[in-house]
Symmetry: C2
Subunit: 571 residues, 2 copies
């Protein structure tokens, strides 16, 4: 059957759905030539996608996309690989988001080095399952080496320590996870186990007996986690999962603009809880204090040094969520910004963020190697006693060999290369901030540290007025609020217009921690990490936003009678 030959598959138009055909799908074509035939076809498709100018998001409407993907049942008969690839080209690639576009500066998902495609090809071909050494031999060792690098990057222990533990199968320097959320969850699971350990009075630990009995046994009235209001929503999610509830996650206010946890307020909150403890007659267990190295919305970094001391005083696990900022430790000066990170009991870092790996891979490293035993699992068939399987420590079961990508990337790019990439990102950040600060129609809304800039469009009429009103914010409170309400609405419209125009992309959020705190202020959010974004592009982007803002405001002005009245009264 000539039509079943693999080399022919690309061009033949018929398939006979036979066992032989199915079996051949599982065999690598005899020569790589044949496979390359597909590969070239594919690479052309990918090329076209990247070369295409214009829209970042395809202009197709959600309704029309829904119409394309509306087959409610699995297809019955096999289709030619070529036809499916064409379908992917026309229906999926065409309508994908060009996250690598240098004008796409709105999310943490950005361009990745093209060699990642090669590495992914290797990883998928090998199809190792990291859960078990029997299905992941060299890759288990690669994973341990990579975790050692990250551990060393953060904790900088002695050479001796790492020589001893880099390939020590009895412990884990950390875990590779599917993303930062699971990495944070892993750390907080660990914190729970440490907060309510087994003891000599017959209590077998929270992992065995559960939270209700743990609280009862240790005589606590509640278990709490502390994190700033800028904490990633995965921390709240973890609260709902771990049985303490969202209520168990105490979200501490941050200092306006700098978005760092307010240490005084943190202490006040703890003090208040301790007072309540006394009234109730039962203490609270602070399970973990979470510091942030690069908040998702603002890129700012908590005072980790101060937090580590408070955590110690509280007897709480100190976790640092550096999902965003962790990779930036390779940048000059970053260690000073993150001083104290080496005191964290655990640290989360995402490879798909500042290590520029594809979506998605999280990392969680543990300071104290014995801590990993608190995550230990066994089972007869998958993990026997004495095993060296990585799966003993992970929350997930089956896992791909995803760490090959950042492992090889670190080799290809080198620490020095990452430094250069971050220099560029920092330069762009500086440029963007300058552009904003020099422009009378934009207001900078945070003090950028790690490549995230919050800003907003402010109409000429409001600029000086807001400034003077803010000299006595209490007396002018209502007017400040009213004006910000209008500016909020304007920036929401502006963001929609940016998205519709689709030449560039920034994201949008709402912060309570600007100079107008505690008012919730709508801000635009730019992230300057794409190595292909250039200074002139940022200029273009801001010019565009500026013109859109002016146009929108001209149309909106008349409808804002009330605020304009306030404005008139003030001037």
């Amino acid at each position: 059957m000539e039509s079943l030959k693999l080399g022919g598959m690309l061009h033949d138009r018929k398939i006979e759905s036979t066992p032989e055909y199915m079996r051949k799908l599982f065999i690598m074509p005899d020569s790589s030539d044949r496979f390359v035939e597909f590969g070239v076809h594919l690479l052309d498709m990918i090329h076209d996608f990247f070369k295409e100018k214009g829209g970042i998001h395809s202009s197709i409407s959600m309704e029309d996309l829904a119409k394309i993907f509306c087959n409610i049942e699995m297809p019955s008969q096999p289709q030619l690989i070529r036809d499916v690839l064409d379908e992917i080209k026309n229906n999926i690639i065409k309508h994908s988001v060009k996250v690598a576009n240098p004008y796409y500066i709105g999310h943490m998902t950005s361009a990745i080095p093209y060699f990642m495609i090669l590495l992914e090809m290797i990883a998928v071909s090998l199809n190792q399952n990291q859960v078990k050494i029997e299905s992941a031999k060299a890759s288990s060792f690669v994973e341990r080496e990579f975790l050692c690098w990250i551990h060393q990057l953060i904790y900088r222990n002695s050479t001796e320590f790492y020589k001893k533990h880099i390939q020590n199968p009895k412990i884990a320097l950390g875990n590779i996870t599917s993303d930062g959320t699971v990495a944070n969850l892993t750390a907080l699971i660990l914190a729970m186990a440490k907060a309510f350990p087994p003891d000599r009075k017959g209590f077998r630990g929270v992992r065995v007996e559960g939270l209700a009995r743990a609280l009862d046994h240790y005589g606590y009235r509640q278990a709490l986690f502390l994190v700033s209001k800028r904490g990633h929503y995965s921390i709240c999610k973890a609260g709902t999962i771990l049985g303490v509830g969202e209520q168990g996650i105490i979200r501490v206010p941050v200092q306006p603009c700098i978005n760092k946890i307010d240490i005084n307020k943190l202490q006040c909150i703890v003090h208040k809880i301790r007072k309540e403890d006394k009234a109730v007659g039962l203490p609270t267990k602070f399970v973990a204090l979470v510091g942030i190295a690069g908040t998702t919305e603002t890129g700012n970094i908590d005072d980790l040094e101060a937090l580590s001391e408070i955590a110690r005083d509280l007897g709480a696990h100190f976790h640092v969520d550096a999902a965003w900022g962790g990779g930036a430790l390779l940048m000059d000066g970053a260690r000073d910004m993150m001083k104290g990170i080496e005191k964290a009991d655990s640290v989360t870092m995402d490879a798909h963020k500042l290590l520029y790996a594809p979506n998605s891979m999280g990392i969680c490293v543990f300071k104290d190697i014995d801590d990993s035993r608190n995550l230990y699992h066994t089972s007869n068939y998958i993990i026997r006693e004495g095993s060296v399987d990585l799966g003993r420590f992970t929350m997930e079961g089956s896992r791909s060999f995803s760490c090959l990508k950042p492992w090889a990337a670190v080799k290809i790019i080198g620490r020095h290369g990452y430094k250069l990439i971050f220099d560029h990102a920092r330069e762009l950040q500086k440029t963007f901030v300058e552009f904003i600060e020099r422009d009378t129609l934009f207001e900078l809304m945070n003090k950028p540290e790690l490549f995230i800039i919050n800003y907003r469009f402010v109409p000429e009429e409001f600029r000086t007025l807001l400034k003077s009103l803010m000299k006595n914010p209490r007396r002018n409170s209502d007017r400040i609020t009213a004006i910000n309400k209008v500016i909020n609405a304007l920036n929401i419209e502006l963001h929609k217009t940016i998205r519709d125009h689709d030449m560039s992309f920034v994201s949008r959020t709402r912060l309570e921690s600007t100079r107008y705190a505690p008012r919730k202020i709508v801000v635009l959010r730019a992230i300057t990490i794409n190595p292909n974004t250039e200074r002139y592009m940022l200029r273009q982007i801001l010019n565009e936003h500026r013109n859109m803002g002016i146009r929108l405001w001209n149309g909106m002005k008349k409808t804002c009678q009330e605020t304009m009245g306030i404005l008139a009264a003030a001037s």
Copy 2:
């Protein structure tokens, strides 16, 4: 700088670590020819790996592997892509496990169709992040369509239902997860939320107030989950995570050999708990009852129909873990085997198992579409009210476009193609069982249903003896135990020998649910899902095991004086 041109990278031996070089790493080479240069190099590497005869696991020792991967710090200077690829070839690919080898029949990780490499190339190139529509446009719709297929495969609702909901952004027919463990966890998180919902008395639900207050508010003394002893260890893991503890997971015995949950014993357990409830004066909340469609160790399927009724009576969420068996629903006759699965409130299925996707991707579908609201999350910057982002429902945050692979595979293979693949797997299972049953030196240890066969080597001397002793198992209990102890030790040695010889691979586990229950019996475990495994290979594999077993037993016999004594006394 000629040496920085991408086309040249493959051959040039020098890198200047400059910003320009780094920037270029992020740009797809101008012509696909240049990229293909790498691609061909890579494919040759992959080819070599697959073509190489002999060892499934590389023979390198753990100690020597540890020596290769012992660089304790990230490299400082960039290395040529070519050099890193060569390093990967020599140090990683060479020492990877050949999970696609047709003689590797020991784990659920097996061969994947080669077109998965192409699909993975597309997914990584697009680098969409499924968490948010702003970074995943068409791919969000693909994911919903794929989830609809799986929902339809299991629940077979009306065409109307699916037309209405396939692309309904307000709900989720299911979640794509990183693996089956997270899929199971997702289902049990959902079950918890449903067990302790918000009410009109001011209780805001377990997700907000936590487990201790939920128990208190609803007046329960404890929250329990029920699953059989063959349940995957992810269920116990979920117990430790969700705050009920391992103790909160009640593991119900199964019927010997068929490994299905013992319905009578389940009812006895519930009855006993209810009695204790009365004594304590507080009821127990049964949060969820978990049925299994394809246990990990034995491939057997619970009586899902009966379980669904019990779950209903208990007011418990009924979850089916079909991580293994779910894909087999495409096989003729499988629906009868899994009767009742359509009554499950949620079902887990793994794409990297019987859909033959690469490691790893889990799926969890929800019967009642309103249930997905119990998983709902929002956050200002990432998920706004009114959003259509997939991330609202998922436990994970950032997620790759992994569903492209099974989505396209289902098109390329077709339902009919999967049917053919499973026909082959079933045929192999039947063959293997026949070989074992005809051979006086092997004993079949389960009643295979979904391609998993448990068996062991039994020396000639023990075979008939055990049979006659088992006619009166109570009287002969000690002798049966003693003999099995020897056979256990023998099979552990046999398994080690198989691994050392490395011509084939089966796995090993220890079951309490054989005909010798409750004794723990060491068994070998074969999984016949590789489309390239053939009948004659199974014959070869068993012959090899047979010969090894005989040799081992000859060496061992003399040292087993005691058991041989028992043997002598009995004969």
